[in-house]
């Protein structure tokens, strides 16, 4: 009844909401990637120098071996995200 407590509220009940939810998922995935990348840069710098500043992290442009490893990890990460999303019903 309108105006009274709704015990089983469903808010996301339109098809567009699924797309919106997908957008939120990608936003989180992007943020997760930014963190993984940052951690990789920190690890690399600690390996190389044993110490670092925030500016070191901002300035680092991963090159060569490091850039390639990050690129492989990015691709694997996203392939997994999309493959898992596509699994139900997919052949």
């Amino acid at each position: 009844m309108p105006g009274f407590a709704n015990d089983d509220a469903v808010h996301l009940d339109r098809p567009e909401h699924l797309d919106a939810l997908f957008g939120i998922t990608m936003e989180l995935a992007s943020e997760l990637w930014v963190m993984r990348d940052r951690l990789a840069v920190i690890e690399q710098l600690l390996d190389e120098r044993g110490t670092l500043t925030r500016d070191d992290i901002e300035r680092t442009q991963p090159q060569g071996e490091n850039a390639e490893r990050l690129a492989r990890e990015r691709e694997r990460f996203l392939t997994r995200v999309f493959e898992s999303a596509a699994r139900p019903g997919g052949k």
């Binding site: 930014v34 840069v41 850039a67 990015r74 990460f77 996203l78 392939t79 999309f82 596509a86 139900p88």
Partner: protein
């Protein structure tokens, strides 16, 4: 290795470095496209197995229907569509953020040397269709003072160059070299953007005076900067390609690279008429654009059309189905021929000549 980002692509500044967030966000967007590839390959396999697609080839509406039926139950199509749409929606805003994060260092590299020299026909001359949000570019081509730089140095570098097959700047060189004459004195590049094709024209015909026309002031500003970096100078004009306001019969080559698919068919016809007006008798037209669907495989035609629909490309289908030979002939051109320069007929180039007086 393919998605790592070590070398500087052709024609881009070597000294563009983003902070960690901007860099990794842009790389994430590129990796999304790579990560979608296995899923898209599976979709392709399914579609190519279907005789329905072969049967519908040649009629894009039927082709789309046939594919929809085959894939009705397959969640992969929806996932790919939603992912690409999200990717495009955030691409420009992310690139703008990445620029802003480093604005102190990047803005001086983006600034045009003499912006007051860019001729401007003003807001009134801008056609309504140009205001649509192309490619999901938030705020359009002019959404940021340095959008030209952001587009060329960040979006192209991080996303378009690694994501698209073939040497996309080499393609522009080959189209420039396809112009029938060995030398030109006055070249006009319509829809020149940041000068990606303009630079190739200038390099192929170093003795020519070069004019670039575009509707986006931000793109023209960075075109001016890029010309200066390359040690040259172009006349730049903000005007519609179909109504440039430039003097008639003042060019011997009028060219364009991927302009036409951004315009509705009536405007494409006007661009050919304008090119005819701009050319001196005997002058050449070289327009390169998207491949016609009829020359693509059924799968590729389906993909182009599906992707255009999902990618804010309102005029792709009409551009991929229009008969440019007829359009050129109607505008008065002769010696019209078309040539495919790469795989699956892209780049697709239309070459034509304005007849010498008395011969028309």
């Amino acid at each position: 290795m393919s998605t790592a980002q070590p070398t500087v692509p052709d024609g881009m500044r070597a000294d563009v470095e983003l902070a960690q967030r901007g860099r990794s966000e842009m790389q994430f967007l590129q990796a999304m496209r790579a990560g979608l590839r296995p899923l898209q390959a599976r979709l392709r396999e399914r579609l190519e197995k279907e005789a329905a697609l072969e049967e519908a080839a040649g009629d894009i509406a039927r082709l789309r229907e046939a594919a929809d039926e085959v894939l009705a139950e397959d969640p992969r199509l929806g996932i790919a569509g939603a992912a690409l749409r999200w990717n495009r929606a955030v691409l420009t805003p992310r690139a703008v953020d990445a620029f802003e994060e480093r604005a102190d260092e990047l803005a001086p590299k983006a600034a045009p040397p003499a912006p007051e020299k860019i001729a401007d026909r003003g807001e009134e001359a801008v056609p309504r269709y140009w205001r649509y949000e192309f490619h999901g570019t938030a705020g359009g081509w002019d959404g940021h003072e340095h959008m030209g730089f952001i587009h060329h140095e960040l979006v192209y570098r991080y996303l378009l160059v690694p994501s698209f097959p073939g040497d996309i700047f080499g393609q522009r060189t080959r189209v420039a070299e396809l112009a029938p004459r060995d030398t030109y004195t006055d070249i006009c590049d319509l829809g020149c953007g940041t000068g990606q094709f303009t630079l190739k024209l200038a390099q192929a015909y170093p003795e020519a005076r070069v004019t670039g026309v575009d509707l986006s002031l931000a793109e023209l500003r960075y075109a001016q900067r890029r010309a200066a970096e390359a040690g040259t100078e172009w006349d730049l004009v903000r005007a519609p390609a179909e109504d440039t306001g430039l003097d008639g019969e003042s060019f011997d080559l009028v060219a364009s690279f991927i302009l036409l698919h951004e315009m509705p068919p009536h405007a494409i016809r006007k661009v050919f008429a304008e090119a005819f007006r701009l050319l001196r008798p005997g002058g050449d037209l070289v327009f390169s654009d998207v491949a016609p669907y009829r020359l693509r495989s059924p799968y590729q035609a389906w993909y182009d059309d599906w992707d255009a629909e999902n990618g804010h490309e309102p005029w792709w289908r009409t551009a991929a189905t229009i008969d440019l030979v007829e359009v050129a002939r109607t505008a008065g051109f002769t010696d019209i021929r078309q040539e495919a320069l790469g795989q699956q007929s892209y780049p697709w180039v239309t070459v034509a000549r304005k007849p010498m007086e008395g011969l028309a």
